[in-house]
């Protein structure tokens, strides 16, 4: 199925938004402006953009420690995200969660997660709930190659499978779990083969090709919505930055410069750009405008975050119980 001009430009815009957001965080971190940990999504934009573009606002996602891309693609507002990263009261979690815990239940973001694999059973539960409530909502569960070794991955997939739940497991295989390469942490090449054990479709897709991700995610989400059960969708991609912004030299301790360089040449944004220009879907000028206006959005998000107040001491004790 060919994508329309609008669809392609939408995917492009989402990826640019994620890229520029992350690059800004990188800069703010380097300057010591924002506290805590930041696990950046640069290089993996096609996965979040392609998958979430297939979701309806009423659908759910669960995200990971590397979650900025997922929540942006699901429709989160940059200013509330930025304020959260700054630890401000106006942030998505009132400054209590930070980068690793951004959530907005209203737009279906059931939370980024600091526990590797922690979101998997939660996604299964959300899917179970929509089935019980008789809605046609779908849940997408994002997690990494490293997290696919955790017990909850197997328990979650099995539970979803036996109950034919409307959930799509999206494994972002960026080839590393912190410093441990996929070759070291599992002997299979395609994580999608694990679907066989749970009798569900397993698909591997080029995770740097946003069109391919969009199409495969579309099939899996339609299956889920139609009541045909879960799918395991593996997207092969790469993170350009280190595991987090404190990882020395972008992870050179465990991966070579050449390897990083090779993957940077396969930039998902450049790739779509070539298609857009080649097929004369957009002019260079139009694309330039997308970058410029997104930069403007990020500037105002940063300004909003900077101008927002920190939480008050008594806020510490709020929200422990509802």
């Amino acid at each position: 199925m060919e994508l329309s001009r609008e669809q392609l430009l939408f995917l492009y815009t989402t990826m640019v938004k994620i890229r520029l957001f992350e690059e800004r965080i990188q800069d703010l971190y380097a300057r010591g402006v924002v506290p805590g940990l930041a696990h950046l999504y640069v290089g993996q934009e096609a996965v979040a953009a392609g998958v979430c573009a297939q979701l309806e606002p009423r659908d759910y996602i669960t995200s990971t420690h590397r979650g900025h891309g997922h929540v942006i693609a699901k429709g989160a507002q940059l200013k509330y995200m930025m304020a959260e990263l700054f630890g401000k009261k106006t942030g998505y979690c009132k400054g209590k969660g930070g980068s690793m815990h951004i959530a907005d239940v209203e737009i279906g973001v059931l939370g980024a997660n600091g526990i590797a694999g922690g979101g998997i059973p939660i996604a299964v539960g959300a899917a179970l709930s929509s089935k019980m409530r008789g809605t046609d909502q779908v849940t997408v569960c994002f997690f990494g190659d490293g997290s696919s070794n955790n017990g909850v991955f197997h328990e979650g997939l099995n539970l979803a499978s036996v109950n034919r739940l409307p959930v799509v497991f999206v494994c972002e295989n960026n080839l590393y779990g912190i410093s441990v390469s996929q070759k070291q942490h599992q002997l299979i090449e395609d994580i999608s083969v694990r679907s066989i054990a749970y009798s569900m479709p397993g698909v591997t897709v080029d995770g740097n090709d946003v069109v391919a991700v969009f199409q495969e995610a579309g099939k899996a989400i339609r299956r889920a919505r139609a009541g045909e059960g879960p799918t395991l969708l593996e997207c092969k991609t790469y993170r350009w930055r280190g595991h987090h912004e404190g990882d020395p030299n972008q992870g050179r301790r465990y991966r070579s410069m050449e390897e990083v360089q090779q993957w940077m040449e396969r930039c998902p944004i450049k790739r779509l750009e070539q298609t857009l220009l080649g097929k004369r879907i957009a002019t260079r000028k139009r694309l330039q405008e997308i970058w410029e206006s997104t930069r403007g959005e990020i500037d105002s998000a940063v300004q909003y975050a900077q101008e927002s107040p920190f939480p008050q001491p008594q806020d510490l004790y709020e929200d422990v119980y509802s």
Binding site: P35, L37, K96, G98, G151, Y254, L316
Partner: protein, 326 residues
């Protein structure tokens, strides 16, 4: 004596134990090439190879359980759990297996393994990477719980832990990794259940753990100039707990503050307070006070996180509240 950081002291203990005892091996996430996220195992992979310094997949229940099995069958595994927060992922292996086996089997078989992990907030890592729930493990019979507060203690206690035939939860503190102190080059042990009197004083006994020891010592220094003398005790191991040293001190001072970074409710504070209430109540001249974390998850926002962490000011406040009884 030469000085090492707390992280280097632990590293040296691992190295010396691995050199002396072929049964000792390490398992954990990113402990090999990466050297552990706090660099505690740096260099050990080069020295001992991947058989004895194993980078594991992210599967805490799997490798902690595997360590239990290896320990039962003649090895001496030392497992690293990157943050204490992730011990919840393998709680069955720790609580129902590791801790229980020796007793449940009527003394047949033993589990000589060490589970190293760390506590402490203050790095902006939010609620799932900053907890200090080491007291959880003190609640479980069958486990030893060790809480070193200095590089010297860290090295000596870790060797004792590795040599011990029981399962040990070895709880490090993130804030301490970079602190330096004198550490002998030679191989040495520090017995479990022996507290250290960090400072002598007449007025108030403060039982403090981990970084709270250093915070208390700083406060004690200031207060001494004002004529208030704190007696500071570091239990070093919470199970077994050196009851005698604590009780002797309280009998002398008649006043007790317990300072530990864990949440106060059901923390180690409560246990030590109960011990004194049961065995030395007649010596008490003041209420027992607890300094610890509030009953909230750890907040991300820096100003809130600073309030969350029990610090010098909280210790000073507690002392202030006891002034009326001095």
């Amino acid at each position: 004596m030469r000085e090492l950081t707390y992280a280097q002291a632990i590293n040296e203990a691992l190295l010396q134990n691995m050199e002396r005892d072929e049964r000792v091996f390490l398992m954990g996430e990113d402990i090999g090439k990466y050297g552990g996220i706090f660099q505690v195992t740096a260099g050990l992979l080069d020295r001992f190879g991947p058989q004895r310094v194993m980078d594991t997949p992210i599967s805490e229940a799997g490798f902690v359980g595997a360590a239990v099995g290896a320990a039962m069958t003649g090895m001496r595994p030392v497992v690293e759990i990157m943050f204490i927060d992730f011990t919840t992922v393998c709680m069955d292996m720790i609580v129902n297996q590791m801790a229980k086996i020796h007793y449940m089997f009527g003394g047949r078989g033993k589990v000589p393994m060490v589970l190293r992990t760390n506590i402490g907030a203050g790095r902006g890592a939010a609620a799932q990477h900053s907890q200090s729930f080491h007291a959880f493990f003190v609640h479980i019979p069958g486990l030893m719980v060790v809480t070193p507060s200095s590089p010297y203690d860290a090295k000596g206690l870790l060797t004792t832990a590795i040599q011990d035939d029981n399962p040990v939860i070895f709880v490090e503190h993130k804030k301490l990794y970079a602190t330096k102190g004198p550490v002998p080059e030679e191989f040495y042990t520090i017995p479990f259940g022996r507290a250290e009197l960090k400072r002598k004083g007449r007025h108030i006994t403060v039982v403090a753990t981990h970084e709270m020891v250093n915070r208390t010592l700083r406060v004690a220094e200031e207060l001494a100039r004002q004529g208030v003398e704190l007696e500071v005790i570091d239990p070093r191991t919470l199970r077994p707990l050196d009851q005698e040293t604590i009780l002797d001190s309280v009998k002398k001072t008649g006043r007790l503050i317990v300072a530990d970074e864990g949440p106060v409710t059901c923390g180690i504070h409560a246990e030590i307070a109960a011990l004194v209430a049961e065995q030395a109540v007649e010596y008490l001249q003041a209420p027992i006070l607890r300094v610890g974390s509030p009953d909230t998850p750890v907040p991300f926002s820096p100003p809130l996180e600073q309030i969350y962490i029990p610090d010098e000011e909280d210790i000073r406040d507690a002392v202030e509240r006891l002034r009326a009884y001095l």
